[in-house]
Symmetry: C2
Subunit: 198 residues, 2 copies
């Protein structure tokens, strides 16, 4: 097997890259300048070595604790619980939230043999011990597993003196009622926003 | 800039990879096992070092001359001229052609400042000197630049004792007349295949 073949094989294992795209990328690399390919190879090589989960919240970081955990301007009374560290980056793009995060590194999924003990739930409870945290926002995905995990956490966090909330479910901005699914419409009705109190 | 940021920046310069896919790939690599990322980095690093253009036909190869040029079972009387070395791999997947190839490494494109002297046309003429080659098939793309290059080559190859042909233009297999463009239909009419001689 030639280097080109192995490269195509490896590239096509990346998410969103099929055999044809892998070939296209490989040929692009062959024609690219040496500096670019060396830099790319270097990045990939050192990625896992340099980027590690933050020991506090689980966010991907080069410094420990991560930029968010060590930022004194962030609101330390609120913790937003997400499934994966990459969800933190997504929430950060909104610039809507100024609190801290906690990445569970997964969801409860009995079918895949993943129980609460496989997630960083113990660490989350530990973070609440100091009494600084007043609110926990559950930002797991609106899927069966995400819902199960949120439900589990709600029960676990009862009587711990923290308010628990969940991301709102409803129509996506720019969406169209005609194309929304039945469940989303039902949830948007149930969680309707009062506009006037008359 | 962190390694993650630079990696995403570099990945999003690859063809077909936008910022979102680059992020997804980077997170996939972070979660992937060490062996895979090391192998991928290694492939990219050594690709340009090991894979070089064949000194005869310009095909990408690790051995020189390439597998096709040195295969004694190939028909050495026919040379198929393509724009890019990667086009050879595409033609090879058809298993229809058993001759040799010649990659021009580009097309004549005055707007980009690319003239015949920037392509491997001189080398192609040299290959015809031995008199072994009897037919040249022009497989440049059916674009303005590909057509210009083909026309240039037809004129250049006149009176050199070789037959010159071009890939057929017409409807793609599985295509639909309704969705074919005007030019393609016109070319498929002009190049219609006789089925009976009555």
């Amino acid at each position: 097997m030639t280097v080109l073949d192995t490269l195509v094989k490896h590239l096509s294992r990346l998410p969103g890259v099929g055999r044809k795209s892998a070939l296209r990328i490989a040929y692009h690399l062959l024609a690219a300048d040496e500096g670019f390919t060396t830099a790319l190879a270097h990045d990939i090589m050192h990625l896992k070595e340099r980027v590690r989960p933050c020991s506090v919240c689980g966010n991907y970081t080069e410094a420990d604790p991560c930029d968010i955990c060590s930022d004194p301007s962030r609101d330390r009374t609120t913790v937003c619980v997400v499934e994966q560290p990459q969800d933190i980056a997504v929430l950060e793009t909104t610039r809507e939230y100024r609190g801290l995060y906690h990445a569970l590194t997964g969801v409860i999924s009995p079918i895949d043999g993943i129980g609460p003990e496989d997630l960083t739930i113990g660490k989350l409870i530990e973070r609440l011990h100091s009494g600084e945290v007043k609110e926990v926002i559950l930002a797991t995905n609106p899927t069966v597993e995400g819902d199960t995990t949120a439900l589990y956490l709600v029960r676990l966090l009862e009587d711990r003196g923290v308010a628990v909330s969940r991301l709102a479910l409803g129509l996506p901005v720019g969406g169209d009622l005609e194309y929304a699914d039945r469940l989303t419409i039902a949830r948007s009705l149930r969680g309707r926003t009062p506009l006037s109190s008359n």
